[in-house]
Each structure stands twice: as structure tokens, then as C-alpha cells.
Amino acid sequence: MNRVDVFKSVLWTLTGLAVATAITRFIFGLGAVSNLSDSTPWGIWKGLNVVPGIALAAGGFVVTAVIYVLKREEFHRYAKVAVLIAFLGYLSAATALVVELGLPWLVWQPVIYWQFHSALFEVSWCVMLYLGVLLLEFLPVPLEETSWFAGLRRFLTKYKLVLVFLGIMISCLHQSSLGTLFLITPEKLHPLWYSALLPIEFLVSAIAVGPLVVILGVLVICYMYRKEADRKTLSKLAYLGFIVTVIYGLIRFIDLGVNGKLPTIFDGSWQSTVFLIEIALMLVIPIVLLGIRKLRYSQAGLAIACFSAVIGLGLDRANIAGVMLQVPGSHYYPTIYEVFVSLGIVAGAIIVFLFCVEHFKIWDVKWKDPRERAEYCPKFGLASDVWLGSPGVTERVKYSLIFVLSFALGFALMPQDRIESKGVEEITVQKARGGDTLFIDGNLDAFGTLFDHARHVDNLGQKESCIRCHHMNVPLDKESGCWECHSSMYTATDIFRHDWHASPNGAAIACDVCHEPPQERQKASAKKCRDCHVDLYADSTADTLDTYLAMSYVDAMHILCVDCHRWLASADTTRAALAQCPTCHTGSQPDYLKADMRGELRRPAPNHVMMPPAVLQVKEE
């Protein structure tokens, strides 16, 4: 294993995990794998992949502008790398968007439904156009490898300047519009980040860091494939980044100063700490390292400066698009699955990048034929003389295997309970321990009710009245508690135990008894519960249990109360209040609960109205 192999194995693993997560997300919805919620509609997919991804891909238009518009020929050798990095950056952002959007198959709809007031409308148009432009800019490189489409290649090369101009114009627009997106949230975005100049700040910082991303890319390839980097041109390019970074720093701090926000930086809140870290990474370290000539020309200085600037810019965008945009009451942190997708998409982009580096003429000297490298010599299995085939094929087999394995692992790791519960907090009902006055608040909304058991016994007629609530199918069944069938607090549960019915240790019922031949043995055609258990239901219920599902505990209990109260209210007009919700849901809690439910209220509002289904009619007596 060499550097490249190890790195690629990691990349393929991440991609496999991401694909598994993405598939789960498309089948079961966003809530199944992510912690996105009504209070945090945008998570790390937007905050780490889309917004920073687009910013970091700005190198493409900055470098091409320097080369083709300002005619600085010395950078020409890095044009293709810059375009490739930009293309893959946008592609990965677009991929993340596809996973992230609620209805990704409609992602093109801005093309037909126009809305000129929306910054996002403009961004989506620009991103679509620019992806096309980048593709055309890059296309001549792979076409070089084949003799097909020679005409197209010549055409694209000839009109390169047009593409470059288009790219610059479109990029300037959407890099700044990405900042405009957050102008509409003055009340949510932290003041250290919110600024009327956000569009300008976004554009300038993207121009500053764009070239540094390209430099970092070049340095990484050189490290991985053990090549010597051409430090002189790279440092010159870095100097451009340095100048724009200084301009960006000036804009940002003058803006903070003019708006009187400078004291906020040192107020000691965690936001101010994050701000200082961001400034150190994005401004201080790059400015110091790139400002000093000697450091700028050293490989380490250059690498650290670029790396720091890249992380800093990513952090800045992540802060604006997520961390500092949090609303009160949201406690968002990404799930591991969101991290899988986030990393996997970047890993996928890097895999494509490495592929292009190995196979195409990315900077003007073509990479040595990969097959000539030592690590591509014929490979033999552990048994020493089994030839594993031609090197290219072995590679492919190995990475495919890694991908498939991690893909399978990804599926194994999917959160089963989360997917099944569809986001409902799963609570298994326990046997009641009793108590004469119960505070019932099944859905924890603080709109519960104090249930006075003793009073109900008195009012309804002592012992004989037990059956009016417990249990619905007396007198044949005195044993089972409600909780045994209504075993889940909020979701309906399957209560038919096939294994027990069929087992010799259980009821030992032959298949044909329930699945009468000649019908196929299916759930739909099988006997229903009531065909054998004639005493299963209370007379009053119209529910047939044909689905074998017991409704959730809260529904069952609430319907029980509502039924009886409605009936009593209709039977006796002087007690009409019994049928009204606030009679029981008075909004007051017992003292021992008040500590955390009063005042601002732990859960400040009622969440849930359990409407009794219409089929439940109260039986007239």
C-alpha cells in the first residue's frame, strides 16, 4: 500500500457509506437519516457542502481571469487544474443539493417558474449555467485523449475566451448572491456575521481564497504522487490571494466598526470565540504567512497558509449558513448519517479528481503512464504465484470491493427505529402503578389533565362501574391490562402473534384453520381476530381490528374518556360542559410538575389534538 492506495481506499469507503445513506433518505424521507427539523431546516448539507463548496470552487474563475483576461501566461499551466477543481466543487455542491432538497427531481423548476425577487432563484440559475460553462471549459481535456469530436474540441478551444468571460460574469453574480440569501434573516443571523455588505463580503472572500484552493490542490497532488511543486509560480498566485484577503479583512472590519459591532467581538460569548477562530484562520494566519516573502516561498508556509484559509472560509460560510443562524430552541447537531453524506460527496469529488490527474494532461506535462509506476507492476496473491490479473483490473476490483462493503455497512448502520417510528418519540407503555389522582399528559405538551380516579368511581356508581372503563371486553377478560395491547404510547402496534398461534407450545392452530384453502395464505384473506375471539370488543365500539393493529395508548385512552363524556353530556343537558375540552384540560398542572412546566414552560405549547375518529359512535342506552 502506498499513499495513493490508502487515500483512495478511505475515499471509496466514505462514498459507499454516503450512497447507502442517500438511498435511505430517498425512500424514507429526510427525517429518517437527518436531524433536520422545523427549527433547523438547513443542516450541514447546505451549511458545509453547498454554500462553502461553491465558495471554495471560486478558484476556477479567478485563475482563468488572471490567465486569459489579464494575460499572465506564467500561470497557464494551472488553468486546467483550476477549472477541474471548480467543476468538481460545483458538481459536489449540486450533488449535495440533490440529496438535501425535499423534491430534488424538481430542481430544474426555477427554469420555468421565474421569481426575480429571490436570491435563490438567481443562484440556482447561475449555478446551472456555470456548471455548463465549466463543463465546456474542461471538455477539451478528456477529448484530447481521443480522436473523436476533434471538431468540438477545436471549437471549444477557439472560443475559450468567451467561456472564460461568461464564467467570470456568472460567478461574480452568484458568489455575491449567495451572500444575499442571508440578508433576509437580520433577526436570526448573529450580528457579528450579519451585514448589509454580505454580498460583497462573499464575493471578495471567494476571490481571495479561490486561488489558494487551487494551490492547495496542486500541493496535495505533488505530495501524493511524489512530485516537485513549482513553488515560484504558486507563490506568485498566492500573492494575489494575499492582496484580496487583505482587502476582505479591511471591508469586514470597517463594516463591523461602522456599525459599532467591534465590542461584540470581545464579549466572551461562544459566538465571539468562534468569530475569533474564524478570523485567525481566514485572515491572520494567511496574511502573516503569505505576507512574509520568505515564508510564502517555502513549501510549508504556503501549504499551511492555504490550508488555514480554506478551513477559515469554510468555517465562515458554515457559520453564516448554519451555526449562527440557529433560532432559539433548536439544538441541531448532525447525525452520523448526515456526516456520511457530507464527507462522501467530497470523497467522490476527490476520486474523480484523482482519476483525471492520473489519466489526463492536467498540467501541461502529461502524467507518466500510470502503468509504468512501480505500484502498478503485476500483482500476486498471498499464495505467492497466483497472478491477480492486469494491474488496472486489480485496482478496479479492489476499490469496487471496498465500495460494495462499505455500502453494505452503510445499510447495516441505518437507524432502524428512527425509520420505522417516522420521527415519533418511541415510548413503550408500562403497566400503571396506580394512584388515585393521576396527571395524564401522554403527549407531554403540558396541556394534560388531572384525572381524579376516586371521583370517577364515586360518580359512576362504585364497583359495578369499573367495566365502563376497564376493560372494554369484560367479563370474559379480566386479566389483560390496556397497556398489553396498546403497548406503544403514540403509534399503532401489531398485536397478532403469528408465532404463538401456530406454535405447538401456543395455540397449536393448524394453518388451514385461519388460512382456509384454496385461498393463498395471505394476511388479507386470513381469518380476522373476531372470527374466533367473539368477545374481543366492547359492544360500543365499531372498530373491527381487521388490520390486527391496536391503536396507540394515548389515542385509546383519550377516546375512552371522550366517548363517555360526550355520552354523559348528551344525556344530561345540565352537564353539557363535560363534552368541552377545557373542562378537563384546564391548563393547570399539579405543583410537583410546575417547577419545569410553568413560567416559560418546558414545552411552551400544546402540541397535539387527538381527534377521536368519526367511526366511534357513542351507543345510546
Binding site: L30, S118, F165, L173, V424, D555, G587
Partner: protein, 252 residues
Amino acid sequence: MSMAILTDITKCIGCFECVAACKKTNGHEADKPYVFHINDGLSAHNWTSIVQRPDKHFVRKQCRHCLDPACASACPVAALHQTSEGIVIYDSHKCIGCRYCMIACPYGIPRYDWDKPVPYVQKCNMCYERVKHGKQPACTAACPTQATIFGERKELIAEAHRRIKENPGKYINKVFGEFEVGGTSVLYISDIDLGFLSYVAIPGTKALPKTTATAMEAVLPTFFGVGAVMGGLHWLVRRRQKLQRENEESEG
């Protein structure tokens, strides 16, 4: 004609009839404690809710139907848009699910079907179908105490001011929603402060879409401006290089 809803907090008894009526009219299923919800009662299945405040104050929360809605100005495909009645409605077939509307709304109103593979944005549409046919919304029709009423915005504002004037000391002297974020169609009068309904206690009177308007108007000029500047630079550089070359040639 701008239609509106006026809710008088002092009259609300917290009976949930409006919530139930809304659920029934819009065919929403029962709500459960989903992990994706904010605990204000609104959710993909609850377009309106009763927020309980200390001392038996019940505050109905619903979309405010802003006069200049941030959600509609944010939506890239105009799925959320305003009707001539001032109602902000949602076209599910246009929506791409970007959820920018949820980010933009200053009241945190739009909710999402997080558990569905084909999710939509969910928010009160002021019963547009009913209003269009000359009926009032289900929630105001259901209210047993007339705490929440429906009418023309101008008349309701006049009515609100009349109630405040005729009952000195009973209300805070302010019609909530008259000027906030450029004015909203859902108005409140109350004896407690309703700042908790929005993300910041005292939302400004500036409509949020105005914050992005300047930048959005600059879009086309920027586009061509950048092109022109770059073209100019390109021409200058080319010219200088040409002159330089000529110089070299004549010298050499």
C-alpha cells in the same frame, strides 16, 4: 380587497375549537410528538395552535399573512405567493423543497413533512378555498367566543382600535401586526406582550424583502458591469503587451 383575521387574546378561552376546525377542514391527521417539531404546537399537521402563556393566557399562533411576505420573496419558484386578497398561499407542484421560506419567515411559520419521501411545506392558507367562495375561514367560524374574527383588514384595524379605546387599561395600546414587518393580515390585540410569536421580541416595521431588494436590483448591472470591466482590462492588457512587443521589435 385585503382580508384579515383579528384575534383578541383577552377573549380566548383556550378551547381548541379553531385548531380542531382547521385540522378537519384541511384533512390533517392527528399529531404526535415528532422529534422534528418546534414546541409551539405548529407542525406539518397543525397549521394553527394555541400557545399557553402564564396566567391563563391563550395565544393562537398561525401564519401572519404578511403584507410583504418574506417567505414569498425568498421562494425561488414562486410556490409561495400572495393572492389579491392578501392571502399567502402555497403551490405544491411548483415547490422544489429548498426550505428557504422556512429560513426567511420572521415568525417561523412554515413547517415541513420531514417524515415523508415526497415532502411539502405546510402552513395556514387562510382557508383560501373557502374565502374565495365568500365563506369565512374554518377557524374563525368555529370560535365560540368570537375571540378570533375574519373581515376586511381596514375594518378590523378600526375595530381593534375601537376596542382598545373603549376599554382603557384592558389592552396594551397596540394592534400587533399593524406595522410589524411591513404589516400583517393576522392581527392581535392583547393584554400581554406578544413578542414571543416572532424570533426577535420587537420585530422592526421594515418588510424583510426590502433587505434583499437592493442587492437583487443590482444583479443585472453587476452582470454586465463585471463583463465590461473585464473586457476593458483585457483590452488594456492586450494593448500594453502589443506595444511592448513593438518596442522590443523596433529596439531589436
